[in-house]
């Protein structure tokens, strides 16, 4: 067994940085007087998230396995190590204003965001099921507390308890799946599970284990039929926290799903994902049609978007993985932005959250209404926004991957998805119409956005439009990340047996654009990894 070396620490550097800043916030908080502003702590944790992003970029030179093969740094993990702290950074910026608005004066709020982020990023780089479970719990426990942060409000406490009970219920399922997978293969190391399942015919135990893990993670990503908690929790929880938990843990849980599912190809999860995707899209969009509360409406929309993402999963080819990864980034940009506007507009005690309150916002606060419109158009999937391309890639991937046993299954899924997108445009556009075409019911204009909130909105707007207009660079990177997830050896053969994978020409075409990065990095990661595996 190889001893722990300095490189091992670099492989968890972003987690270490976030933990250090979180602890610093916890230590400084009691030194401040209760009446002092906690703004400085917020800015400190903002710096912490930026430092974590820098640490993740630094990791690019240290691909490979660390900590006895429990953590794997590759393009895939680095993508999420940049995305998730970036989400947290924007949410912290939005929270600076929110906490003052709601008169919540305690610093551990920021520490909890940082600790939650540690769990989320660790989920994306862990390749050991028990470590994934621990990381999942680190992120969940922090978000349970944050959901109930408006302590005096009964609805916030209720959101917290519902999230807690259903979240722990789901975790128990995930853990049972881990235990059964351990029983089926004798290991909890994802890479070894993959080898084991490929070598022997997976027994019934592996099937049940995969199904249970999908149930557990399905809860976390709010995919139907495990979505019941979402509207209630999103309505009651503080708006900036909803921005975080509708994107961060979701992206992390999707990362785990990708890692787990593609290690267990051949355990028949195709139809589970298919049904879940179809149900999520349909229930999410039709549920959103009848909502009167903006947070609730966005909650149902988030269920629907989980469905679109699962369409890319069901495709189960390189394109699908890359589309799913791209989707998490695009969805994060637009959804965090939308919730930041909702958070600002809600004012003290989150009074203005019903759709009617948004009447005439176009006149009262043109800039705010304009940014919200951009996010809503992106959520619909209007061209030139991130949402359009994300959906386009997801559906294209599904059209490319044809299940061998059910040739038309994926085509039907795409048809369901397109019909749903049309339905979805109704409720998003309704909000836009209310903002611009109705007379204001409240005469006074909303309070001007603070500087930090403006920065948050500018970042998310630019990200939404940037990903919609020039997605090339990110797409190259997601393709690279997708190739990391699928070791080229056995996986290709296994996929071929079950699904029509991409022809060689298409794969080459996809990689041609990123070829200036691929060979060098591939070699380095390949040889390093081999060395580490040999050591073990």
């Amino acid at each position: 067994m190889s001893p722990i070396s300095g490189v091992d620490y670099i492989r968890i550097l972003p987690e270490l940085v976030l933990t250090a800043f979180g602890i610093a916030v916890m230590l400084i908080d009691p030194l401040l007087k209760p009446s002092d502003s906690r703004r400085g702590l917020g800015l400190l944790s903002f710096v912490g998230t930026l430092a974590a992003i820098a640490a993740a970029v630094y990791q690019m030179h240290y691909y490979g396995l660390g900590w006895f093969g429990m953590v794997r740094v590759d393009s895939f993990s680095i993508f999420f190590h940049v995305l998730i702290p970036a989400i947290s950074a924007v949410c912290i910026l939005a929270s600076l204003e929110y906490l003052e608005q709601q008169k919540i004066g305690s610093g551990e709020y920021y520490a909890l965001i940082l600790f939650g982020t540690v769990g989320m990023v660790l989920m994306s780089s862990a390749v050991e099921l028990v470590l994934i479970f621990v990381a999942l719990e680190i992120s969940s426990i922090s978000t349970y507390i944050l959901a109930g942060y408006r302590r005096r409000s009964a609805s916030s406490a209720e959101a917290s308890i519902k999230y807690f009970l259903l979240g722990s219920f789901a975790t128990a399922f995930f853990l049972y799946g881990v235990a059964l997978m351990f029983g089926a293969t004798g290991t909890t190391d994802i890479l070894r599970i993959q080898a084991q399942l490929a070598a022997t015919n997976p027994g019934i135990l592996a099937y049940v284990a995969t199904a249970l893990m999908i149930i557990g993670l399905g809860f976390k990503v709010a995919a139907a039929p495990f979505h019941i908690w979402t509207p209630d929790v999103y309505e009651g929880a503080p708006a900036p926290i909803v921005a975080l938990m509708s994107t961060g843990p979701k992206a992390a849980a999707f990362a785990v799903l990708l890692r787990v599912l593609f290690a267990t190809t051949g355990t028949g999860w195709f139809w589970l994902i298919w049904i879940s995707a179809a149900l999520s899209m349909t229930l999410g969009n039709f549920g959103a049609l009848v909502q009167g509360n903006v947070k609730r409406m966005l909650a149902y929309s988030s269920i629907a978007h989980a469905g679109y993402l699962l369409v890319a999963f069901a495709a189960s080819n390189q394109l699908g993985i890359s589309a799913a990864i791209f989707y998490t980034a695009a969805y994060a940009a637009m959804n965090v932005g939308a919730f930041a506007v909702v958070s600002h507009f809600g004012s003290a005690g989150e009074r203005y959250v019903s759709i009617d309150d948004y009447a005439g916002l176009g006149k009262r606060s043109p800039l705010l209404a304009f940014t919200l419109t951009i996010f809503l158009l992106s959520l619909i999937g209007i061209p030139a926004t991130a949402g359009f391309l994300a959906k386009y890639y997801a559906f294209t991937a599904a059209m490319h991957g044809t299940s061998a046993t059910h040739p038309t299954a994926l085509v039907w899924l795409v048809i369901i998805g397109v019909v749903n997108s049309a339905v979805a445009s109704y409720y998003y556009l309704r909000l836009v119409v209310v903002m611009y075409m109705r007379e204001p019911t409240v005469s006074e204009p909303p309070a001007p956005a603070s500087a930090s909130m403006r920065v948050a909105l500018v970042i998310t707007t630019i990200a939404t439009i940037y990903l919609g207009v020039v997605p090339g660079r990110l797409l190259d990177y997601t393709t690279l990340a997708a190739s990391d997830l699928q070791p080229k050896t056995k996986a290709a053969g296994m996929m071929g047996a079950r699904f029509k994978s991409l022809t060689d020409l298409e794969v080459k075409e996809l990689f041609r654009r990123s070829s200036h990065v691929t060979p060098a990095e591939d070699n380095r990661s390949g040889s390093q990894e081999k060395k580490r595996v040999d050591n073990r």
């Binding site: 028990v130 479970f133 621990v134 719990e137 426990i141 349970y144 507390i145 109930g148 302590r151 005096r152 409000s153 009964a154 609805s155 406490a157 209720e158 959101a159 917290s160 308890i161 519902k162 807690f164 009970l165 722990s168 219920f169 128990a172 853990l175 049972y176 881990v178 235990a179 059964l180 351990f182 029983g183 004798g186 290991t187 909890t188 509207p231 209630d232 309505e235 009651g236 009848v290 909502q291």
Partner: protein, 111 residues
């Protein structure tokens, strides 16, 4: 020597009891206890499989890290304890605002 299957059946029964408790009980504390029951059922599965694989390990020695299954139980117990600490705090905050622990009456957030 008790066969592996018995342990697995027992833990499956415990897990299902936990699920039914979660779905049928109306008191938040009881629901929370049902979740703990589910986690402990998983612990039993872990230990049973660890024992099974360790006996197995004499033939396929490299495949199994000895004791790994038993150690996972400690991880699960620590996480469950952390969850309990946070969960009970949340339950207290619900009780303070609503003066009830019946889930049917904690229903502000509904369509």
């Amino acid at each position: 020597m008790v066969p592996l299957a018995w342990y697995l059946v027992l833990s499956a029964i415990l897990f299902c009891l936990g699920i039914f408790g979660f779905l049928l009980k109306r008191n938040i504390i009881t629901i929370f206890m049902s979740i703990e029951l589910m986690l402990n059922a998983v612990n039993l599965t872990f230990v049973a499989f660890a024992n099974y694989w360790n006996e197995h390990a004499k033939t396929v020695a490299e495949k199994v890290v000895p004791l790994s299954g038993q150690v996972f139980v400690f991880f699960v117990m620590v996480v469950a304890a952390a969850e309990a600490a946070v969960g009970l705090a949340i339950i207290i905050s619900v009780f303070r605002t609503r003066e009830t622990l019946n889930v049917d009456r904690v229903n502000l957030l509904k369509l």
